[in-house]
Symmetry: C2
Subunit: 205 residues, 2 copies
């Protein structure tokens, strides 16, 4: 499984969202929507082997985690507004520790960013995070083949970043630093580059 997790430091944690103001009052929810687009959309197809999480730390009820499962998604369109309407619906639900489905393939829970990453670590996922001084993904000896892909998680930050404490947490967890580009990019653009590196590696297996 290929999974992505975004720390959305300012993104809204209730369904009381103004769809006309995703970047402002909804706390850069536009970026979350574009990350959903980048995670799943192919030309005329969806990436069914991908899961995307975003963990929101904005007002009024942080944290709220969202989970999108590629293999279960239905009726999702690639534009920000449609994706935001699905997110709004999910954030309108009462949340508890347990994942609850809102619409097909979209779940919410009251979970912390670090706890989700720890859970993946305990499930033996290889964990990567982006760092300008990391090594290229192509040099990480990923095991990719149709029957038995390695489980991998990519940790992403928003415009604020994940912060020093979370970087330390990831280092202590043995997460691997990778670099995708010589310039700093938005999280949604990074997802495109990760998918592309994996597509090419898999194609050359």
């Amino acid at each position: 499984m290929k999974e992505f997790i975004l720390k959305a430091n300012k993104s809204a944690t209730s369904g009381d969202i103004n769809i006309k103001d995703l970047p402002g009052s909804a706390g850069r929810l536009d970026l979350v929507c574009r990350c959903v687009n980048s995670s799943f959309f192919l030309s005329h197809d969806l990436r069914r082997d991908t899961v995307f999480y975003s963990v929101h730390y904005g007002e009024p009820n942080p944290p709220i985690a969202l989970k999108f499962i590629g293999d279960e998604l239905k009726r999702l369109s690639p534009d920000e507004r449609s994706i935001a309407l699905f997110i709004k619906k999910a954030l309108e639900k009462d949340s508890s520790k347990l994942w609850k489905e809102s619409t097909a393939g979209i779940y919410t829970a009251k979970q912390e960013f670090r706890d989700l990453i720890l859970e993946k670590k305990n499930e033996n996922y290889r964990i990567f995070y982006l760092h300008l001084n990391g090594k290229p993904l192509e040099e990480c000896n990923l095991k990719l083949n149709d029957d038995d892909d390695e489980d991998i998680l990519f940790v992403l930050g928003d415009h604020i970043g994940i912060g020093e404490d979370d970087e330390k947490f990831l280092d202590e967890l043995g997460a691997e630093r990778i670099s995708l580009s010589p310039v700093e990019l938005h999280a949604d653009h990074c997802i495109i580059l990760v998918h592309n590196a994996l597509d090419k590696l898999k194609n050359n297996e």
Copy 2:
């Protein structure tokens, strides 16, 4: 200069656009907006060395070409809605053969897709178009250095594609076929991959 041109087969050609329905009645204008995002946005910066064109063939007044010049853009936000509002404003202008500025760095003209490509050919741009059987961009011997970058144009299609006639036109013009991925991707995702390939090539010069 790095330039991209998108053929937007169905995108609106007047300012009478419903911002709430970019994918539907505005003719996949959401894709055009995401291409603008991919062309210019870096984390906390804009790509000043890039120009993006989209040529719209939707109703009621085709064709209308839009031009975005990275070095002149101001107050552009990365979300689709803000970009769509700038495009709406540009499409509200009367258009003629001559480029007219609407807001900082955004221009419109009544120009055909092929004529714009021909113009670039006459200015000695190297022209590339995406094809699943093309060769990797990394093998195209691009000349990239700070003082004297080669001028390059990338031709992109929307969900419908550029069509057989335009492919033939590009072949006759000596355009080079490149491949970015083993899977078919949306145009905005292709722009990210082109930028990344060029960023890496330039970084290794």
